[in-house]
């Protein structure tokens, strides 16, 4: 049978445990709206009896069984899988949106309008081939078009560079995160081996894994000692306390540059299937790269076809063989007018013979290029081709937006499930607060009562 001192000790234990329980309530309540915080739970158990051989031992009160986080690993795995997809589509949606803004079609003053103005200026010149006004107007309109094409191309190139830099930054971040996870693994294993509580470290590691899953697709596996191994496809990125850095390089296939992710210094390659980096890679190598190629194709065909006809014609100066666009146009970035034309618009060819100022046949032929199916093996006009460039970007952005919505809905669902398991409910904590307070009051009452009982015993001895 327990002594009064044992009962006093039971009360003291209860006070200690309830105090800790109150601390847990305080911790949870304080972090009710902290992102990445996982609620803590103090699990109690009956303390083992003081005298296990005693026949009438009521027990030693309460003890702490476990203090830890409430987390569902299955949801975490699902969350990180979806996070990679969300990261991928979110990045595509964002960057393609910016690419689409570069074209700013449907808002007026875009290239398709400038192209229309260019054809109209040739048509207008065919109405007034002998005058200077229509020639000056054509030069101005053509310069607006060439400036517009170069601006779009330069902005695409700038976006290409930004995406490139962001990809490098993201790869650096991946390496920083995997390094951080490896460090956290060490700290968690050490703390838990020493019997210490490592919930904060685990929260930090989970946040790092969440962020990593946005950048690249990963899978994780937790070891028995609390360390987590991180994989990308078949390659291991973090193995307990070690991490393997990844790097990015470019490879060229059939004249097209594409990005390659190297796994450490092993010469092996990473195959990305999701995440922001994969999105950036696709956007840079496939989307922006292709749009820039298409813009080059557009510019070169426009310049060459106009020049083909223009060189056959005569201007008011009665000379022929002059190019309208510069002869060295090799792409959108070099599209500009010939200096001979800008210096003297009288040289613009409108006639098919010399000394025929009223002959507008060349001007009409050039205006007619608008309806020539020059592109896509005779299937599209230049106008169609440019419109297709714009619409293809729009179509890709539209698809990305649709996929993003799907992924966001899935992530919202998973986030809710995760919150439902690991988040803090103030109502729940307040209920727990009342429970703990009452238990603490009751334990204090026991201590008081035992104290009184001891006083009684001491009084017996004194009398």
């Amino acid at each position: 049978m327990s002594s009064l001192a044992d009962i006093l000790n039971t009360g003291r234990n209860a006070l200690r445990v309830q105090q800790l329980a109150m601390q847990v309530v305080g911790q949870n309540t304080s972090n009710a709206d902290t992102e990445g915080y996982t609620r803590r739970r103090l699990e109690l158990c009956t303390a083992p009896p003081y005298d296990s051989l005693g026949r009438w031992d009521a027990g030693a009160g309460v003890d702490i069984q476990h203090l830890g986080r409430i987390r569902d690993q299955l949801i975490d795995e699902q969350y990180r899988r979806e996070s990679s997809q969300l990261g991928y589509w979110s990045q595509r949606d964002d960057v393609l949106g910016r690419v689409e803004e570069i074209f700013s079609e449907l808002g007026g003053s875009a290239i398709s309008d400038q192209l229309q103005d260019f054809w109209a200026a040739w048509s207008e010149l065919s109405n007034q081939p002998e005058g200077q006004a229509a020639r000056l107007s054509l030069v101005e309109t053509a310069q607006t078009l060439t400036t517009g094409v170069r601006r779009v191309y330069d902005e695409l190139a700038s976006r290409f560079g930004t995406v490139d830099k962001q990809m490098v930054d993201d790869v650096t971040e991946v390496n920083a995160i995997t390094s951080h996870i490896a460090q956290l693994n060490v700290q968690i294993v050490r703390a838990e081996t020493d019997g210490l509580e490592a919930s904060d470290l685990r929260d930090a590691r989970d946040s790092a894994l969440d962020r990593l899953s946005q950048l690249i697709n990963i899978t994780t596996q937790e070891n028995g000692d609390g360390a987590v191994n991180v994989y990308n496809g078949g390659q291991i990125l973090v193995q307990v306390d070690r991490h393997t850095e990844i790097s990015i390089s470019a490879e060229s296939h059939n004249g097209r540059v594409s990005s390659v992710f190297n796994y450490g210094s092993s010469g092996r390659k990473l195959t990305l299937e999701g995440g922001e980096i994969k999105a950036l890679m696709d956007i840079r190598d496939q989307d922006i790269g292709r749009v820039m190629d298409d813009m080059d194709e557009f510019a070169v065909n426009l310049a060459h076809r106009v020049n083909d006809i223009h060189t056959q014609g005569y201007g008011l100066t009665n000379t022929n063989g002059i190019e309208f666009f510069a002869a060295d146009v090799t792409g959108a970035s070099s599209l500009r007018l010939s200096s001979l034309i800008t210096d003297d618009p009288s040289r613009i060819a409108t006639a098919s013979a010399a000394n025929a100022p009223g002959d507008n046949s060349i001007a009409l032929q050039i205006a007619g290029i608008q309806n020539e199916k020059l592109m896509n093996n005779g299937r599209s006009t230049l106008d169609d081709y440019y419109r297709d460039i714009v619409l293809q970007v729009g179509s890709r952005k539209s698809y990305a937006t649709g996929q993003l919505k799907v992924e966001q809905a899935a992530m919202n669902h998973l986030e809710n499930r995760r919150q439902s398991v690991s988040g803090v409910s103030l109502d729940e904590e307040m209920t727990r607060l009342i429970q703990v307070q009452q238990a603490y009051d009751a334990a204090a009452r026991i201590v008081n009562t035992v104290d009184e009982m001891m006083q009684t015993v001491l009084t017996l001895g004194a009398s």
Binding site: A32, L106, G358, N360, G368, L391, L426, E428
Partner: protein, 316 residues
Amino acid sequence: MRVTELQRQRAFTQGINDRQTNLVRLQEELAAGRSLFTPSENVRKADQALHTEDLLAMDVQYARNIEDGLHWVNAADSKLQSIVDLMNEIDNLALSADNSSQNEDDRRSTAIQLDQKIEELVKLVNASDGNRYLFGGHGTTTAPFTVVRDADGQIQGLTANEDTIAGKIYRRIGQDEDLQVNVTGDRLFQPVGSTGTDADLFYVVTTLRDTIGNNNVPPEGFEETRSNNYLREQLSLIRERILDQQTYLGSVGQRLQANQTRLKEREIQLTDALEQAQGVDLTDLVSRAAIEETVYNALAGMGTKLLKQSLVDYLL
């Protein structure tokens, strides 16, 4: 299912954000008067809008070309009518000179009148509209006919700039549809290579003037058959030729006007198609805005009331 503070906050924030996004979008549509801002919002409609805008722009230019063509045709037609009227006057003078009641002096006087008519005729065949000669073919900046005068300054004939006079001038009035809007001096007055022949208007009228001035006797070196009547017949043939060209101009004018009408009708269709692709239905927009505003107010009211309440409120 447990409901946590973050879940409640997120649901509320998401709801508010969604409503505000919708409201901002509706405001943008209302302000811009269109429902499409980027192709990605609706690729099919964007395609339709961009294509329609291109067609509208092309039609605007075709309409301008037609305007210019009509101006050209009307100016040429007006001058040709003056020329035909003048040729009628010349014919009447020649007819009166053929009358036996006229004596030599009368005929000399008629010849002087004819000379003045020829001077007028020269001005008309070299007529210009603004800075462009109407009947010079591709030679629109220099007079198509050069006057040849004798020592006394009397017109002996006209020579055409044969390099350019037959040049045809076209206007683009539709896709792959070019229409010749000029009539050329060679087909009207002096076919290329016909200078000094019966097909040459100026040869006929100057010879007529000289014959009548010579008391209806063809000048020395001219065949006897080239009488007043013969020359009048030649003049009549040339006039028929000019009338044919006038008829051509009339048909060109009609075709231009028909295309003008067609373009106006098409503009209505295309504007309608553009409106369907990217226009806004104001009634629908205002209704949606009212609904969004109501939902936003309800959400904000309920959200702020529910969010600030928890068990904490009942503990103290």
